[in-house]
Subunit: 579 residues, 2 copies
Amino acid sequence: MVMCQLRIGIAQINTTVGDFAGNLQKIARAIDEAKSLGVDLLTFPELAVCGYPPEDLLLKPQFIKENLATLNEVIKYSPGITLIVGFVDSQSDTYNAAAVIHHGKLVDIYHKICLPNYGVFDEVRYFSAGKKYPIYTINGGRVGINICEDIWYRSGPPTIQAISGAEIIVNISASPYHFGKGKFREEILQTRARDNVAIIVFNNLVGGQDELVFDGESMIISETGQTVVRGKQFEEDLIVADLDIDAVSQARRINRGWQRKKAHLEKKSLGVTRVVISEAPPVILKPPVSRPPAEELSLSAEVYNALVLGTRDYILKNGFEKVVIGLSGGIDSSLVAIIAVDAIGASNVIGVAMPSRYSSSDSKSDAELLAHNLGIKLMVIPIEPAFQAYLNMLAKAFTGTEPGITEENLQARVRGNLLMALSNKFGWLVLTTGNKSEMATGYTTLYGDMAGGFAVIKDVTKTMVYSLSQYRNLKANTALIPTSIIDKPPSAELKPHQQDSDTLPPYDQLDPVLTAYVEEDKGIEQIIDMGFNRKVVEKAARLVDRSEYKRRQSPPGVKITPRAFGRDWRLPITNRFKD
Amino acid sequence: MVMCQLRIGIAQINTTVGDFAGNLQKIARAIDEAKSLGVDLLTFPELAVCGYPPEDLLLKPQFIKENLATLNEVIKYSPGITLIVGFVDSQSDTYNAAAVIHHGKLVDIYHKICLPNYGVFDEVRYFSAGKKYPIYTINGGRVGINICEDIWYRSGPPTIQAISGAEIIVNISASPYHFGKGKFREEILQTRARDNVAIIVFNNLVGGQDELVFDGESMIISETGQTVVRGKQFEEDLIVADLDIDAVSQARRINRGWQRKKAHLEKKSLGVTRVVISEAPPVILKPPVSRPPAEELSLSAEVYNALVLGTRDYILKNGFEKVVIGLSGGIDSSLVAIIAVDAIGASNVIGVAMPSRYSSSDSKSDAELLAHNLGIKLMVIPIEPAFQAYLNMLAKAFTGTEPGITEENLQARVRGNLLMALSNKFGWLVLTTGNKSEMATGYTTLYGDMAGGFAVIKDVTKTMVYSLSQYRNLKANTALIPTSIIDKPPSAELKPHQQDSDTLPPYDQLDPVLTAYVEEDKGIEQIIDMGFNRKVVEKAARLVDRSEYKRRQSPPGVKITPRAFGRDWRLPITNRFKD
């Protein structure tokens, strides 16, 4: 048994946008479990009640209303516990809010102050900014509550709350994943904890929502900046820990720097409110909880897990059970197939090989071997009859022209049509297999290989497709993706002896240039100055610029980089700018 | 000859995003023309230098740089005139700005204060808000300058400038069109003019940019709220007028209400700056300019012209010369064809009839008659060979299933493939023909009839498709769109005896329900309370909700309603909300 002043629980749940009943059920279940573990204060992610991000559903009055009704249901589960629950508050304005609920009552509401309106975020479109910095006394400890972006600025709400007395900062978030974000987030939180000599409780959302994946990895950072507990990545979790509030008071007493900062800022701080929820209880003995920080995943493991979670949630939250994938015998479709198997199980994944007159015999046998390794069903439908029919139908119109891109695209579109026909007939979701290098350069056929409901690896460069494939094989301790697939030169196989390198620069040169141009807003001359070949850079930039119309019609896919071709990429199609 | 204190010119030009050289040329040409007409002060639209809206190009440092370099070029054309030119200012922050240029010098820069971040606008994503309210003395008159959204609020920048002495308010805008917007805008401007007893000079952009159309219709409103001059709608224009500044002073002297308001607000106003550019010149005699307000278009004419301009600019600004359209013999494709002809001329429009085993003989003859009436080339490619090839290829997989939607979609996709093949081979842009009623309900085939580069009438309800067709025939004084096409019941002709009304409620019931649900955020019960049939409303709402994934992959099209399926519609695909 331990003496416990404040036992906190972090409910890292996977909500669904608009699924009020389902979200309520998850919230209620977490409350029950937390109560059984003796939790005093239980937190939930940002907008837990309605899911995140609800986008323009926020403009529907009925959506807001149902969200408020659901919050009232949550309150009914609160006897014997204090809760912090994200929801949409709507008075004369609309706010991204946190309800502070105690023992059957709504005690107070916090309104998010810093509204992100960059990258994938549009919060100024929907929300007004809060102006108050509340501090709640819970079990005698003083707790400052804020939401996501609020903690990203050095002199933001957490700092104002800390210098006004808060020993614990609870931040409820829906912070989307991109590779390396977890580590970056942890460093920010550690800095905030140290600077404010406060315990930071960070509750992140987990789950996939269209192109976004929320990676969880909620954590508690001590007032010295140490990570005390780290939640699971890409999975639901309930993290319980006992907070040592006295340690904060003590640390503050001896920290001269903090005292100076407090004295300096205290005069300025405005809008601090104070609510006493519960005074320090008599010493309570509880069975101890303790748990080391979860081990962090490697970069490949992290990205791979993000792809699996994003894909699984898109499939299941949209009511699909099975997926269908065109298997070319190439590495992209192989990686997508194995991600799908890891997401929803081999029995729910159907592969379709659609050889053409230009397919090598290796392609078919490689697809077969892959399907065998993964234990998935493989259908084989040669595309020649439809391809030949098109050529005949167009012969008159094409008189006097040479075969070229048109004929290549036709093959890709026959395949797209076949997959969509299977999808329409059997209700299978089509997963497309294009990677980010292709999406960037337009090395892809609109309505062909781009046809489908979810583009699993659209934000994964070709280079990373290779490293993820190797990672997955290594993890399986066997060549699930056959070595022959990994080793052969990339080819679309849409004309004889075609290779990607006929059209595109080699991927090891192309990919870093694309990253600089697409994700880092670097100009052509700047990228050349970084040491890249002028021809490669100019060609890559032109290809990116002129493929916007294709990307605009692409299905969503999992965002894993700092800038994906999705909500965080809003380029005009009509655009004469040539950098 | 007239005595002229201040002659103003409004350059209503059609800029292109990122086309710095082209925009500079248009600006220079307008300056030359204005000088020849004795203009003292010439204005240009919002962000005239770089085009509007540049979206994420604003995140590229090179884009900003080239925009600044182009502004410097503009200054070189300014000897002998004063200019107000929209551009992107970039200091430590980025601003939506107006350069005030006089006689070879950049005199000052205004920063837009009210940044719209709703509907189609994302200006908070890019710009910081200005804080200063400058007033410039030009030819002795005091001129307040502001940008677009700044004039939409009652106590916004124009009011602060007016009570601080500005007799003329120049507002440079890029205000996108939807039906009725021009009238609404004029009323707002008249109110501002009357309330502030000031002359309002409103310079709007004209032209198409992806899904947006800017309708021009720049205007000058007198201090009594009368529209003195109104520029052309949907065309470039140079509007020149002599402003009677003395009339403003006189009106203010006798307007007690305005004096009270001024006395009340004057104390509060902050951030007003004053720059003298030129004092009142000796009385100048100039040849008179005068021109009555252009006549306003009817609703149908207005929408029709918006569609023509949006389509023309998308085609030409993206470097296409010709378009190809699948002609079914139905009203949607007929309307699209005639819009295309009006946009780029009959010789640049190719129609393709693609009859199937289910096409009626009327369909083909109607398409032929239409093509004949419009004087466009018609190709005929029956789709049976490819359709039959697909059925054979899929026969094994489909064993034991009944024909249905899958087979219908296959036909639409064969057509989509044929049009795309012609596009790929000959560089023709494919115009799609789906209307808003179809886009809303998902009564359309992804990669089939949705395949193409520009969806001309995607924001036009079926009901309005009929009224526009009738309008165009009436204007031509002949049945350009054959009566047989207008009179027959709508059908997709994808199975025997099919009619739209088998699947959808009649359009005269469906369309108003869709408008309420999609454009007005009304809930199901609310719409039923408006007097609509419960079954129709519930069905319509469910169809809208579950078609989001299709809309996400649709090409852009001209926005003509207050809320189109484009930048102003941001619904999640993964969404369990059922209103």
